[in-house]
């Protein structure tokens, strides 16, 4: 292992945002603009450094790991060793992710300056944002499980802070809490999995683990499945997979840039990133579970998205659905496809969220799509970029989403046909609900006062939209997929642009995808192009109400929690109050006092009683000593 500070660049990338967060928290919180500048400069600096690092590392891409001991508890005599490092693992995966986080992050930071202007806690917002960036980069660079877990938790808490940014609003505070706790449930499995891995393998370092597993494939023995699933729990929480998906839609209570950054581009992608990172740990069984979980999440979320009315919630369920895709890709032995989709998704989903933010901003925080409409003319930049994002998401050929989604569908087509068909249906739904959104919000008639008076957002907000739109357009053909597949030790982009552009069309699955897009678009156009309200609930009442109500998951969980934790807590509390401190403690106390009062009654003050008790005592003593 190399010295941590031997290489300054990763340190710079990681700690610049932290520095910004600390400086803002301690010194400049009151001065919002200065804080914003600090934060933006920090992430831009990090982004610059990331690009520099990326370029400098393009030549030799064998994984590099350098670290410092963070926590070492070992003893030769006792045969115990727990070494936890703080390190940087630089390989294709982390470099790519680093670029996404800093790049998309930069855009969102800049956008936020416009979006959050005038907020009372402007400074605090940027502190949290910078802190989040730091945490996220920590996950990206982690070279071992525990470090990853640490930043994993920090990401959790920073998302908690950001979702609950408007803590005065009860809903936001509740959503933050819910997000944090749901994540914690996932982390529960993750941490156990980490401990399990350590106890079986004796190390937590990714490279070491991979080497151990390569040299000894049965290292994990019968626990392999358990370990795999436990680790996957972490991803389920963070990437909001079924059954822990419930937090993500609620998290839309946070400011929109937060939704874009955290709940579209980066944090929720951490689960997929982690799965790719430790892909070598999973065996067949766990991969199957992963794939089906992803698939199920994708279809379920897509269905729910169809019936949502809140612009951000639609995007949130869409995110869920796309994350399901990515997880499914990992489960189908294709982490590169997952990562590819992650990257493109980061571009277009961030774009979509920011676009939605722009709309919301323009409409003074109106989020119901049925109160919008006809925004195309008033907000043309927003509209066009939003449209690009939608097309990319729906897998319109030659846009970024097309390629990444296609590689996932291709993987499914190769290995798991049921999942493939499921994926196609999801693709159809995606197109359907996204264009529903487009039709209702941007086209059609204006449905409210606010949407009549909407106007385009300032350049500081539309600028990032444009940049992201460009990325969403071309993200599929710049070679991300090739970069992720670690075939070569150095990057040689062997394919030409045209090769990349045309590659998908050689596979049958692609046409299914395009078909799904076309059908979805058509159906959406038919239903929503002119609609003033949603026609579907009248057509399919029960199914739609189930979808509208998110298949009652929240209610189910509320019931589950009430039945388990609340009930147990109530029982524990009652036991504590009545049994332990009541019966046992107070009982002992009361019994002692009672005995005292009872015994005291012997002290009648009457000589006769005393002499009788004397005699009785003596009789007792004599009996014990002489007669027994």
């Amino acid at each position: 292992m190399n010295d941590l500070f031997h290489e300054p660049l990763p340190n710079l990338i990681l700690f610049l945002p932290l520095l910004a967060a600390v400086v803002i928290t301690l010194f400049t919180q009151k001065n919002g603009h200065l804080s914003a500048v600090i934060s933006v400069v920090a992430i831009l600096g990090a982004f610059g450094a990331a690009i520099f690092l990326f370029c400098s590392r393009l030549e030799s891409l064998s994984p590099r790991d350098f670290a410092a001991h963070w926590l070492t508890v070992d003893s030769k005599t006792l045969g115990e060793s727990l070494r936890i490092t703080f390190g940087f693992l630089l390989d294709r995966l982390s470099l790519l992710m680093m670029l996404i986080v800093t790049g998309v992050g930069s855009m969102i930071h800049i956008y936020s300056v416009g979006y959050m202007r005038g907020d009372r806690s402007f400074g605090r917002f940027f502190a949290c944002l910078s802190f989040f960036t730091f945490s996220m980069l920590g996950i990206v660079f982690s070279d071992n499980f525990l470090q990853m877990f640490i930043f994993w938790e920090l990401v959790g808490v920073s998302s908690y802070l950001l979702i609950g940014f408007w803590y005065e609003r009860g809903a936001a505070a509740d959503a933050a809490k819910k997000a944090f706790l749901t994540n914690r449930i996932g982390d529960f499995g993750f941490l156990i999995g980490i401990i399990f891995v350590w106890s079986m393998a004796g190390t937590l370092n990714f490279i070491d683990l991979r080497n151990h597993l390569t040299s000894n494939p049965v290292l994990l023995g019968g626990s392999a499945t358990a370990i795999g699933l436990l680790i996957f729990c972490g991803a389920v929480g963070k990437s909001a997979q079924f059954p822990l998906h419930v937090w993500l839609p609620d998290a839309m209570e946070g400011p929109t840039p937060v939704s874009a950054l955290i709940h579209a581009a980066t944090m929720v992608a951490a689960g997929v990133y982690m799965l790719s990172r430790v892909f070598f740990l999973f065996n067949e069984t766990s991969l199957t579970v992963i794939a089906w979980t992803g698939g199920f999440t994708a279809i379920m979320a897509a269905l729910i998205a169809v019936q949502q009315d809140d612009i951000k919630r639609i995007l949130a369920y869409s995110t869920l659905s796309q994350l399901g895709y990515m997880v499914m890709a990992v489960g189908l032995h294709e982490p590169p496809a997952g990562m590819f989709h992650l990257a493109t998704h980061a571009f277009f989903k961030a774009l979509l969220f920011l676009g939605a933010g722009s709309v919301i901003h323009a409409l003074h925080h109106e989020q119901n799509i049925w109160k919008m409409g006809r925004l195309k003319d008033k907000m043309s930049i927003t509209f066009w970029t939003f449209l690009i994002g939608t097309l990319a998401l729906s897998g319109f050929p030659f846009l970024s989403g097309f390629y990444s989604k296609d590689s996932i569908l291709a993987a499914a087509y190769r290995s798991n046909l049921p999942l493939f068909y499921l994926g196609v249906v999801v693709a159809f739904c995606t197109t359907f609900y996204m264009f529903r959104l487009i039709f209702v919000v941007f086209l059609g008639k204006s449905k409210s006062e606010a949407s009549d008076h909407a106007h385009e957002s300032p350049f500081i907000m539309t600028g990032p939209l444009l940049v992201l739109a460009v990325l969403a357009l071309v993200g599929g053909v710049i070679g991300i997929e090739e970069f992720v597949i670690p075939k070569y030790h150095s990057i040689q982009f062997v394919k030409t642009w045209s090769e990349r552009t045309m590659e998908p069309f050689s596979v049958a699955s692609t046409y299914f995808g395009i078909g799904a897009f076309v059908v979805g678009l058509a159906l959406s156009f038919a239903l929503y192009a002119k609609a003033a309200s949603d026609p579907l609930p009248r057509a399919l009442p029960s199914l739609m109400s189930a979808m509208r109500n998110r298949f009652y998951f929240d209610e189910l969980y509320a019931w589950l929690i009430a039945m388990t934790h609340e009930a147990l807590a109530e029982v524990a509390s009652l036991v504590d109050r009545w049994v332990i401190s009541g019966m046992v403690v107070r009982g002992a106390h009361g019994a002692t006092e009672f005995m005292g009062r009872a015994l005291r009654l012997l002290q009648t003050g009457n000589l006769q009683t005393y002499s009788f008790l004397f005699a009785a005592g003596i009789a007792l003593a004599l009996y014990l000593m002489l007669l027994r």
Partner: protein, 480 residues
């Protein structure tokens, strides 16, 4: 006869007589000041006791009745200090006695001489006479405030019950004498092997111990303590609680571990049960107590139980722990009684102490320290005493688990005792002063006494070495 052996005792008696004589020529107003004479004389005698060489072999005199040894010397010093404190308390108390303050001093001195003889007893006959000397003097002392009904009532109770215990003691002595033909401890010790199986002797020893249990206020003869403590004048209560109890222990140690070490070792179960029951009785009864002196009566029972821990251990460390605990108990009780005597003039109900902290922080602090020490909490004497006692008990526990149970009972007793000791502290600190509270009169001698006893508590709690060595030396004359 070797009069040199009993020089301290003779001096005390002489002092008593001197005071009685001087009383005739002293004007009434100045009689209180005879106390200074008594205290001065006692301190002189105390200083004199250091003239004795501790390392010398125990000297026996008066037909083998009297044995001057380390144990005796320790107890004599102890009694003298206790008497000094009692007389100092009595000087402060004089205002509440109609007349006869100098007789009070003299009687205390006579009781002291009885205790000092008891400390060196080596014969059952002398033991009986010394005990009776103490008892008879205390009948008078307890009922000294004969204008007060409580005092008289306490006197009568003490009289009857003490006489009852004396009857058992005498009958026990008779049986021991009958079984062995001797009354001298040395002779009894020689005869012990043949006596071990003699039931009449068992009975005799048992009755003697029962008789002694009255003096130390241990089960089964513990009932008198609360009533008498409550009724007796405060200085007398103090002297009774410290001196009389210690005299009982001096005799118990001598009888058990000089005369009958062989039998004591076999009777450990009896001692264990007695100790445990006494601890529980005293502590449990004290819980709901409102009268402070009465509370101290129960506490005195509990403390007798703790002291019996050391006796029941039947070991040198146990006995030395008893001595150490007694020393700490002396310092503690003097502080407590000094405060009671100042504050409890009108009433010894705990409510009289309400908000004492505001009336006199010094008194409240003294009382708090006393309670803390009684409760056995560092850094005061009570802690180290209990520590040593428990140590001696646990030491036996590895061979006999009953001792662990006894230690457990002792711990529970201590915990219960915290309840009422802290009740007192609570009253002083977080209740408000009664509206009709008279200002406290707090004389210089009392201040000195309180300060000295606090210093004593701290000294015994923090610098145990010297005192501990003294106790270890003292118990060398005992056999185990």
């Amino acid at each position: 006869m070797n009069l040199a052996l009993i020089v301290p005792e003779i001096s005390v008696v002489a002092l008593a007589l001197l005071i009685l004589l001087l009383d005739l020529w002293t004007p009434v107003a100045a009689k209180v000041r005879l106390g200074y004479l008594a205290i001065g004389g006692l301190l002189l005698i105390l200083a004199m006791t250091w003239a004795h060489d501790l390392s010398a072999a125990p000297a026996v005199g008066f037909g083998g009745m009297f044995q001057a040894d380390g144990l005796g010397l320790f107890f004599k010093r102890f009694f003298i200090i206790a008497a000094v404190a009692a007389i100092a308390l009595a000087m402060d108390f004089s205002a509440r006695i109609a007349s006869g303050i100098s007789e009070l001093y003299a009687l205390m001195l006579i009781a002291l001489s009885g205790m000092m003889f008891a400390a060196s007893v080596n014969d059952l006959v002398l033991a009986f006479v010394a005990l009776e000397l103490i008892s008879v003097t205390f009948y008078i002392l307890v009922s000294f405030q004969r204008g007060r009904l409580l005092s008289l009532e306490a006197g009568v109770k003490y009289l009857i019950l003490s006489a009852l215990s004396a009857a058992f003691l005498v009958f026990g002595i008779a049986l021991i004498f009958g079984a062995s033909g001797v009354t001298n401890f040395t002779d009894l010790n020689h005869a012990a092997p043949t006596l071990v199986l003699n039931k009449a002797f068992w009975l005799g020893l048992l009755l003697v111990l029962i008789g002694l249990s009255f003096k130390i206020a241990a089960f089964p003869l513990q009932m008198w303590a609360p009533d008498v403590y409550q009724g007796a004048p405060t200085p007398v209560t103090a002297f009774l609680a410290i001196g009389s109890k210690a005299a009982g222990f001096a005799l118990a140690l001598r009888i058990l571990f000089i005369a009958f070490p062989l039998i004591a070792a076999r009777w450990d179960k009896l001692l264990i049960v007695t100790s445990g029951v006494t601890i529980l009785y005293g502590n449990l009864c004290a819980i709901p107590q409102r009268s402070l002196k009465r509370l101290l009566g129960y506490s005195s029972i509990a403390n007798a139980g703790y002291l019996l821990l050391g006796v029941s251990a039947v070991s040198a460390s146990g006995s030395s722990a008893v001595l150490y605990y007694l020393a700490g108990y002396l310092a503690t009780l003097v502080a407590v009684f000094a405060v009671i005597s100042v504050v409890g003039r009108e009433s010894d109900d705990i409510s009289a102490f309400a908000g004492l902290h505001q009336r006199s922080p010094f008194l409240a602090a003294g009382m708090t320290l006393g309670m803390v020490s009684l409760a056995g909490i560092p850094p005061l004497a009570g802690f180290l005493g209990k520590f040593l006692l428990l140590r001696s008990v646990i030491d036996r526990g590895f061979s006999d688990p009953a001792y662990f149970w006894l230690a457990g009972v002792a711990v529970i007793g201590v915990v219960i005792s915290l309840y009422y000791y802290f009740g007192v502290v609570r009253t002083m600190y977080w209740q408000s002063v009664p509206a009709d509270a008279a200002p406290l009169q707090f004389s210089a001698p009392m201040k000195t006494l309180l300060a000295l006893s606090v210093i004593g508590m701290l000294y015994l709690g923090v610098c145990p070495s010297a005192a501990f060595n003294a106790t270890v030396e003292a118990v060398k004359s005992l056999r185990f």
